[in-house]
Symmetry: C2
């Protein structure tokens, strides 16, 4: 059986990614990060998603990226934009976040002798984050094989990005087909303490648009801001 | 004034690297990691080294790599080898450590608008860790510019490795020239609670050999194991 480490944030994309990895026959190890994010409640969703879909182990790693700041997601002094997507990289970009997350996934994967890492990055309905682009992922894969003892010994790490060229509607469609319960997921950048979404941030807008285009019920519960 | 982030472990190499960065005119930001290492006392040395050499800010980031394990440095159930260096990658290798450290340095550097990162890796008198090799560093530099908003905006991150082709003796010589107080540094993988070195691990052997070849007094204090 092939082992895989899957990054699970608690959101829609990573839940779908986990379901895809499972459907491809991987023995799944979920990895989530408590990184000082303002929407830390997403970790509860991550726990439920991983439990619902079934994983061998679910590890949580703590990194205080809020001590670095520089993002609306890790510095509560910076407001989350709510005016809709633009063609600029938004202030919700967290410096080097996916590099940090993939690096830690790589470390765990090497210990597990798992040579497959799944990440739910998407370069269609997304916020323009540089570390979601195919060329970033390709560069990380090259790095992974130079960085590790496993790489020196001839193993080859593969970074899987099954969502990279899908629209949000296509992602949801695939997830529903594979039995993902999107009611368990939280995408919002600033949910309330009950996990209800704001409906105004980029993550909420992309998610709502995906359900709308697919014409299936959106289970998201909203609070008023 | 050019800003730089310098990885400072508390050891001999990173102290020298910091001194070199300063001598090259960089405004220095020191970054240290509390990563579950068995020789966590090195962080006290890191603090003293950074203070002695002078930095604008010294940040400590916590990451529980000990929850991943897979190394004698992060899993106290695995003994630190003391029989001397071999031509194998030793069990003190920490999976993906330098990838994780550089990723976090990159995040902080981006927030600071610092486009220079210094790391004291060495590929001469070293333990054969894959993430100390020049091609690893080159791959990370490429990744850094694809991973970041700063990279998209045309800034270029440079990973500086001033020690990469130096012997341990040459590193010490350069550090002494620049005023490094090696008495403040701790290289040992298993120092006692006073910070005294074991004298038997690879890090101790490489350090002692460097001082010996240079024929200068070695300030290291040893305990008996």
């Amino acid at each position: 059986m092939k082992k895989a480490v899957i990054l699970v944030s608690g959101g829609l994309d990573s839940a779908t990614t986990l379901a895809i990895a499972k459907s491809q026959g991987y023995v799944c190890y979920a990895l989530s990060f408590d990184y000082g994010q303002r929407h830390r409640i997403e970790l509860q969703a991550a726990r439920q998603v991983a439990k619902h879909l079934g994983v061998v182990e679910h590890k949580f790693i703590h990194i205080n990226l809020d001590s670095i700041g520089g993002s609306a997601l890790t510095d509560t002094q910076i407001n989350v934009p709510t005016q809709g997507l633009s063609d600029q990289i938004p202030i919700t970009y967290v410096p080097a976040r996916n590099t940090v997350f993939l690096a830690l996934a790589l470390g765990w994967a090497e210990v597990l002798s798992a040579y497959h890492i799944f990440i739910g990055v998407n370069a269609v309905d997304y916020s323009g984050y540089p570390d979601c682009r195919p060329k970033f992922v390709e560069a990380f894969e090259q790095l992974a094989n130079l960085a590790t003892k496993a790489g020196v010994e001839g193993h080859s790490f593969k970074i899987h990005t099954p969502l990279i060229h899908l629209t949000k509607a296509q992602i949801i469609q695939e997830g529903l087909r594979l039995g993902v319960d999107y009611n368990l997921t939280i995408s919002c950048y600033q949910p309330n303490p009950n996990g209800y979404a704001c409906g105004m941030c980029d993550a909420c807008r992309l998610r709502a648009d995906g359900f709308s285009r697919l014409d299936v019920p959106d289970p998201t519960q909203y609070h008023s801001i």
